[in-house]
C-alpha cells in the first residue's frame, strides 16, 4: 500500500580532495630531492621499528611510498600524516604478502632439532626459580624497594622520594633488602636445607 522506503543517499562520485584551479605549486627537482631526504629516514625507521620489516626491504617500501605520493600530490593536504599512514599500511601489506611465502613447518624434521628458544634453558632456569623463591620470601615493602631499584630503574634519591625517607636511609634499605634476598636465595638453592 505504502511505497517502500528509498535507499538513503550515498555520495556517488569520489571527487578529488583538493584541486585548486588545477594548479599545483611549482616544485623543482632539488625540492623533491630535499623532501625525499627529509622524510626517508622516518619512513624507514617506522617500517623497521614499528613493524620489524628487515632494513633492506624497509628502504624499498619507503621508496614505494614516495613514488605513490607523486601521483596523489595534488590531493594530499597533510604530507606527514599521509606518508606515515602510507608506510604503516605498506608494512602491513608487506607482512601479509611475506607470510604467504613462508614454507609450512615440517613436523618430523623439526622434532629432530632443538628449539633455539629453549636450547639453553638449563643454564638459567634453576637460578630463576631460586630468585623467584627468594623474592617471595621477602616482605612486600622489601620486594617493592628491589622492584623500584632493579626493575623500574629508580635511582637511590628517587627511591628516597618515593618512600619519603632520606637518600642515605634509602641506600641502607636497598642494601638490607639485597642481603635478605641473598639469604633466601642461598637457602633455596638445590642441595641446601631451607
Amino acid at each position: 500500500m505504502i511505497p517502500p522506503p528509498p535507499t538513503p543517499s550515498v555520495v556517488e562520485s569520489l571527487p578529488v580532495l583538493v584541486r585548486a584551479d588545477n594548479a599545483l605549486p611549482v616544485i623543482d627537482a632539488e625540492e623533491f630531492a630535499r623532501l625525499y631526504e627529509a622524510n626517508c629516514g622516518l619512513l624507514v625507521s617506522l617500517a623497521v621499528r614499528k613493524f620489524q620489516v628487515p632494513f633492506g626491504d624497509a628502504e624499498g617500501l619507503a621508496h614505494e611510498v614516495f613514488l605513490s605520493y607523486i601521483k596523489r600530490r595534488d590531493e594530499i593536504r597533510e604530507l606527514h600524516k599521509w606518508m606515515i599512514g602510507a608506510i604503516c599500511n605498506a608494512s602491513r601489506h608487506y607482512w601479509r604478502q611475506h607470510s604467504r611465502n613462508i614454507d609450512q613447518l615440517d613436523i618430523e624434521a623439526a622434532s629432530t632439532h632443538a628449539d633455539p628458544i629453549s636450547a639453553h634453558v638449563t643454564d638459567w632456569l634453576t637460578a630463576r626459580i631460586a630468585a623467584g623463591e627468594a623474592l617471595a620470601g621477602l616482605t612486600p615493602r622489601y620486594r617493592h624497594i628491589l622492584r623500584l631499584r632493579y626493575y623500574e630503574g629508580y635511582s637511590v634519591p628517587e627511591i628516597a622520594e618515593e618512600l619519603g625517607v632520606t637518600a642515605k636511609y634509602a641506600q641502607k634499605l636497598v642494601t638490607k633488602c639485597l642481603r635478605r634476598a641473598e639469604e633466601f636465595f642461598n637457602a633455596s638453592k638445590p642441595g641446601k636445607e631451607k
Binding site: 500500500m1 505504502i2 538513503p8 555520495v11 622516518l42 633492506g56 601521483k71 600530490r73 606515515i84 599500511n89
Partner: protein, 410 residues
C-alpha cells in the same frame, strides 16, 4: 606537549620525527639513486601537467563520440596528465551522462594500457592504469552493468597487486567494488570491503573519502535493517564531517540519520535531521537534492504511519520540484499526496490536485499517455470510484512511462 613514538604523535611533532628517524643508519649509495628516480619522476609528472593544458577537453569537443575509441592512438594523450584529465571528464559525466562517461573511461583504459613501460616507474604506471580501470568500473556501475564493473575492478587490483605502498590506491579501486556489492544487495560482501576502505582512508587522512566510505558502510547496515548500527556509523561520520567542514557529507549524513531514526521510532529527532539535510542542501545550492530529500523523508515517515509529518514533506517536495522546473517529479509528489487524501476521504482536494497535475503535464507537453491516465483518475475521483490503490496504480504507470523514455535515451 608530551613526546612519544606513537604514529599519531609522530605525524604532529617535527622534533619527535627527527629523533625517531635518527636511530636508523642509511645506505647512502642506494638511497641516492632512489632519490634521483623519485625527483625525476615527480618532475616529469609536473612538466606533463603544465604542458597538457586542456588537451583532453579540446580533443573530445572536436571529435564525434563514435570516434572517441580511435583517440587512443594519439600520442598527445599517452601521458599521465592526459589520463588525469580523462578521469576528470569521466567524473563530470557520471551523473549527467553515464554512457559518455563509459566511452571516455574505455578510451582512458585503452590509452593507459598502451603507454610503454620504462617511461614512468612501474609503480606510477600501475597507479595510472588502476585509476583508469577504476573510472571504467564506476561508469559501468552507474549503468547497472555490475558484472562488467567487477571485472574492471579486478583488472585495476591486478595492476596494483605487485606493490605494497599503494594501499590508498587499492582502497579507492576497491571502494567501487563495495558500492557494486551494496547496489546488488550483496551486503555481507560489501561491508568488510567498505570497512577496510574506511580504515585505510582514515590512516591516510583522506577525510572526504573516509566520509564517503562511512556513508556507504552505514547504508549497507541500513539495508540490512541494522538501523542502530547504521546510526552509530552515520553519527561518527557526521562528527568527522563537521570537524573537517565537509558540508555535502553533513547534508547526506543528516538525511541518512533521518531514515535510521524513523525506523528506530524516534520521529522527533528524525525530523530534526531531515530539516538539517534540507537546510544544508539549500545552502550548498543543490536545489534538486532539496525536494528529493523531502520526498524521501515523506516516504519513510508515511511508511512508518506518520502521515501528517509525511504529508508536510510531500507538499514541500512538490513545491520545490515545481520551482526547480522538474514538472514530472512535482506531478509524482502530487499523486502521492492525492493517494493519501483519497485514503482520508478528502476527495475534493484530491480532485483539485489531479486537475493541477493535468494542467502542468499538458503545459509541459509531457507524454500524452501520462496525461490521459491522470484525466481518467480525475474522472474516477469525480465518480467516487477511486481508491488510494487506483491513485497508486496511475502513479506507477506514469513513472513507468518516464523510465521507458530514460531507457531509450541510455
Amino acid at each position: 606537549m608530551k613526546h612519544a613514538d606513537d604514529v599519531e604523535h609522530l605525524a604532529e611533532c617535527a622534533t619527535c620525527r627527527q629523533r625517531f628517524a635518527g636511530t636508523i643508519p642509511f645506505q647512502t649509495g642506494e638511497r641516492l639513486a632512489r632519490k634521483r628516480e623519485f625527483a625525476a619522476a615527480a618532475m616529469r609528472l609536473d612538466r606533463e601537467r603544465g604542458d597538457a593544458s586542456d588537451v583532453v577537453a579540446r580533443v573530445l569537443r572536436e571529435t564525434p563520440v563514435a570516434e572517441w575509441p580511435r583517440l587512443a592512438d594519439r600520442p598527445a594523450l599517452r601521458n599521465n596528465a592526459a589520463l588525469e584529465q580523462l578521469s576528470d571528464e569521466v567524473r563530470k559525466r557520471l551523473h549527467r551522462c553515464p554512457t559518455e562517461a563509459l566511452a571516455i573511461a574505455k578510451l582512458a583504459t585503452g590509452v593507459a594500457e598502451l603507454i610503454p613501460s620504462g617511461i614512468y616507474p612501474p609503480l606510477v604506471l600501475a597507479q595510472m592504469r588502476a585509476n583508469a580501470w577504476k573510472d571504467r568500473a564506476s561508469a559501468l556501475r552507474y549503468l547497472a552493468r555490475y558484472d562488467e564493473a567487477l571485472n574492471a575492478v579486478a583488472i585495476g587490483e591486478q595492476h596494483l597487486a605487485p606493490f605494497a605502498a599503494v594501499e590508498h590506491d587499492r582502497a579507492i579501486v576497491r571502494m567501487v567494488k563495495g558500492m557494486v556489492f551494496l547496489q546488488t544487495s550483496r551486503f555481507d560482501e560489501a561491508r568488510p570491503i567498505l570497512a577496510e576502505c574506511r580504515r585505510v582512508f582514515a590512516e591516510h587522512h583522506d577525510s572526504r573519502r573516509h566520509a564517503h566510505a562511512g556513508i556507504a558502510e552505514g547504508s549497507v547496515l541500513y539495508e540490512m535493517s541494522r538501523y542502530g548500527e547504521a546510526q552509530d556509523i552515520f553519527t561518527g561520520v557526521l562528527d568527522d564531517a563537521i570537524a573537517t567542514g565537509d558540508i555535502e557529507s553533513q547534508a547526506r549524513v543528516h538525511n541518512n540519520l533521518g531514515y535510521c531514526l524513523t525506523h528506530l521510532g524516534d520521529y522527533a529527532r528524525a525530523n530534526i535531521h531531515f530539516s538539517e539535510a534540507i537546510a544544508k542542501f539549500t545552502d550548498l545550492g543543490f536545489f534538486a537534492e532539496v525536494p528529493r530529500t523531502e520526498r524521501g523523508a515523506a516516504r519513510v515517515l508515511i511508511g512508518r504511519g506518520q502521515a501528517d509529518a509525511g504529508l508536510a514533506y510531500l507538499r514541500a517536495a512538490r513545491r520545490d520540484f515545481g520551482s526547480a522546473g522538474l514538472i514530472e517529479e512535482a506531478g509524482f509528489c502530487a499523486l502521492s499526496i492525492a493517494a493519501l487524501l483519497v485514503e482520508c476521504g478528502e476527495s475534493a482536494e484530491a480532485r483539485a490536485l489531479t486537475q493541477n497535475v493535468i494542467d502542468e503535464f499538458t503545459a509541459a507537453r509531457l507524454d500524452e499517455r501520462a496525461i490521459a491516465a491522470v484525466i481518467r483518475l480525475r474522472d474516477d475521483i469525480d465518480a467516487d470510484g477511486a481508491t488510494a490503490e487506483t491513485v497508486r496504480t496511475v502513479h506507477a504507470f506514469v513513472e513507468s512511462l518516464r523510465d521507458e523514455v530514460c531507457g531509450v535515451a541510455n
